[in-house]
């Protein structure tokens, strides 16, 4: 992977440190945090085991509550479903809640092809949309942009003169730009953090209130949800609504939690569509080790502690899912051999991601699993493995290695920035034989 520019690395260092510290503080105050993590893991594992039945139960509950459920095998099917719904209401414009899933299927581009403008209403997503850029972080998608860049962008794209780079002023400019669109739009589009099979309830958690606007103001709401987001029961929210905000924004509770069950007369949208997206997820599910990646609740805690992410930046992961979770999710979701084989190697296996994951996804174990699945056959390592198969071969290899070391043979990627250790006068086993033999 390529290392990021110094400015990017400085931005990421500062930003991830801030979120890290906030997370650590609010996690430390929860006495049963480890039990909560274990509960989160267990609920997800259970949901994955009976995903087929839960999804049918969800469909039934959503339908009973007046919503409509659509099943989409891949991005093209999902995009077509959404575009047809929007076109069916003669809407030329939709307002969107920040949603990784719709980014994954590139919904905005698909809608544009049908002449429909999709307006991102999350501040960071709006910044990216106006600059034709893409997310580099799950929670803070424009983490790679600084406020001066944003001021220039808003001044240019929104036609505001004399705009300062104070965050409040920038937010205010975005708010004024978006408010008209919220009131005008006839279709709102969202992703989903959770969907409850038992009740048919769909939920979105967010900070800015734009999600609440999108899911309540327009008369039609379309939610695109990865099938792995389903939870069995209403009471499961008790666990996830504690785990997610503390892990994600480092808050005890996020400012807005919107939960809706089908449609209600005179309250919110009169028409609700839920698009259930597979797009590679059932393939991930078929891998008994790799499937744990589907437990992810998109909190981004793993990004904020990852030493590799902080140095390469989110775009290096070439997917809407960056960082450690992206490194295990993207190759599996895409399922194309050779497409993202380098991602599982983008880790020193330091384990910081596993330590903070609210649903205890053992990301280092998954990385190693994917490395083995790619069947990389490193010739040097194979030879070493053979040489280590017995003490004689091993002693011979030690001798050769020490001779190379004494001769100063360079080992290019290593010696690029580190010296090799000096060769010791004897190996440990020679010392043992000499003194104890």
């Amino acid at each position: 992977m390529r290392i990021g520019e110094p400015q990017l690395r400085d931005n990421l260092y500062a930003a991830t440190r801030t979120i890290r510290a906030k997370r650590a503080q609010v996690v430390a105050e929860v006495e049963d945090w480890e039990e909560l993590r274990e509960a989160g893991r267990a609920i997800k594992a259970d949901a994955m085991r009976r995903l087929d039945a839960l999804l049918e139960q969800l469909e039934e509950a959503v339908t009973a509550a007046g919503g409509r459920v659509h099943w989409a095998r891949d991005a093209a099917e999902a995009n077509a479903v959404v575009a047809d719904i929007v076109a069916g209401h003669d809407a030329g414009e939709v307002v969107k809640v920040k949603s990784l899933t719709t980014d994954e299927i590139e919904l905005n581009a698909a809608l544009a092809q049908r002449g429909i403008a999709a307006l991102e209403t999350d501040l960071a997503e709006l910044i990216l949309q106006l600059s034709d850029d893409w997310p580099s972080h799950i929670l803070v998608p424009a983490i790679h942009r600084n406020r001066r860049e944003i001021r220039d962008l808003f001044a240019r794209e929104l036609g505001i003169e004399g705009l300062g780079d104070d965050p409040e002023e920038l937010t205010d400019a975005a708010r004024r730009h978006l408010r008209q669109a919220f009131l005008r739009a006839r279709v709102g589009i969202s992703g989903a953090n959770f969907a409850i099979a038992e009740t048919g309830t769909v939920g979105v958690v967010e900070s800015e209130g734009n999600g609440r606007m999108c899911t309540t103001l327009p008369p039609v709401l379309v939610t695109v949800m990865g099938i792995e987001k389903v939870l069995p029961a209403w009471r499961d929210l008790e666990v996830f609504l504690q785990l997610l905000p503390r892990s994600s924004t480092g808050e005890r509770m996020n400012p807005y939690t919107s939960l809706w069950t089908g449609v209600s007369d005179g309250d919110g949208p009169g028409e609700f569509h839920l698009v259930l997206l597979d797009n590679g997820r059932t393939r991930v599910l078929a891998d008994e080790v790799g499937r744990d990646a589907l437990h992810c609740i998109r909190c981004s805690a793993c990004l904020n502690v990852c030493p590799v992410y902080a140095r390469v930046g989110g775009h290096a992961y070439r997917s809407v899912y960056p960082g450690p979770i992206g490194a295990v999710l993207t190759p599996q979701l895409r399922g194309v051999p050779g497409d993202s084989d380098d991602l599982p190697w983008a880790s020193s296996l330091c384990g910081a991601c596993y330590e903070v994951c609210p649903v205890k996804i053992d990301i280092p174990a998954l990385l190693v699993h994917l490395r083995s699945r790619a069947e990389s056959s490193d010739p040097a390592l194979r030879v070493m493995g053979w040489a280590m198969g017995g003490p004689r071969r091993f002693a011979a290899a030690q001798k050769a290695g020490r001779a190379a070391l004494r001769a100063g043979v360079p080992v290019p990627p290593w010696t690029k920035g580190r010296d090799l250790p000096p060769a010791p006068p004897e190996t440990f086993r020679q010392w043992w034989r000499r003194t104890r033999g």
């Binding site: 992977m1 140095r311 880790s347 296996l349 390592l381 003490p391 020490r402 250790p421 060769a423 010791p424």
Partner: protein, 232 residues
């Protein structure tokens, strides 16, 4: 841990899992481990057929090669009261692949022998780097720090951002050399900021990385394995 080994076995018969890296490149860490354990009353044996635990192969996705190496361990190391390694990452691997009672050195000393003051004297300024696998795979906690605090004359200085990975990561250091070196640069900056003469850790692999960077940049800091300080 249940009952500490010391309470059930006297003297404690320890098999040294020296690790391929220490055996080949850092024998002084292995020798110090033997002397230290013997000084504390353990009977130490070195099963001579041992080679490598297979960690590097497993972590590189060569599962079968790694498994083949791991499969040799139960026979070589069975029947001892404890298997002790001067390495947290190798101990973690062996713990994962076998049922052997394996411990990293500091974990064994503090948790099993119940010792914190090993009678060492080391009048130098030292900083301690908690390696990722000692911290997050084996959970040795503050065992190394307790041991270091009890060393006579030792001035222990806290390493800033100590829990950050040094960028070694086995084959990561060569496969993603640029990222690895960027991580190392930050670690070196923090090590130098302590003003320590010695940087110590529970793993020679990470010390090889940090030490290689220190030598390359001409920094006046040496790397020493924990065992070498505790045996002094």
């Amino acid at each position: 841990m249940e009952t500490p080994i010391l309470e059930t076995c006297v003297p404690v018969r320890v098999a040294l899992l020296v690790t391929c890296l220490v055996d080949t490149l850092f024998p002084q860490a292995g020798i110090a481990t033997v002397r230290l354990l013997e000084r504390l009353g353990c009977e130490v044996e070195f099963p001579p057929e041992q080679t490598c635990c297979g960690q590097m192969h497993r972590n590189s996705g060569l599962v079968r090669d790694g498994d083949a190496l791991a499969a040799r361990l139960p026979e070589l190391f069975g029947g001892y009261d404890a298997v002790v390694a001067p390495s947290a990452s190798c101990a973690a691997t062996v713990r994962e692949t076998t049922d052997l009672p394996v411990f990293e050195l500091s974990q064994f000393l503090v948790g099993e022998l119940g010792v914190e003051d090993v009678g060492a004297s080391f009048p130098h300024r030292v900083t301690y780097h908690p390696t990722c696998h000692s911290l997050r795979a084996l959970h040795v906690g503050d065992a190394p720090l307790r041991l270091l605090r009890a060393v006579r004359g030792l001035d222990l200085v806290e390493l800033p951002d100590s829990t950050e990975c040094c960028g070694f990561g086995g084959t990561f250091a060569v496969k993603n050399a640029d990222v690895s070196l960027a991580m190392l640069a930050d670690k070196l900056r923090n090590v130098r900021a302590t003003g320590a003469e010695v940087c110590t850790a529970a793993d020679c692999s990470c010390l090889m990385h940090i030490g290689g960077g220190l030598r390359r940049t001409g920094a006046p800091v040496r790397t020493m394995h924990l065992a070498e300080i505790l045996q002094s």
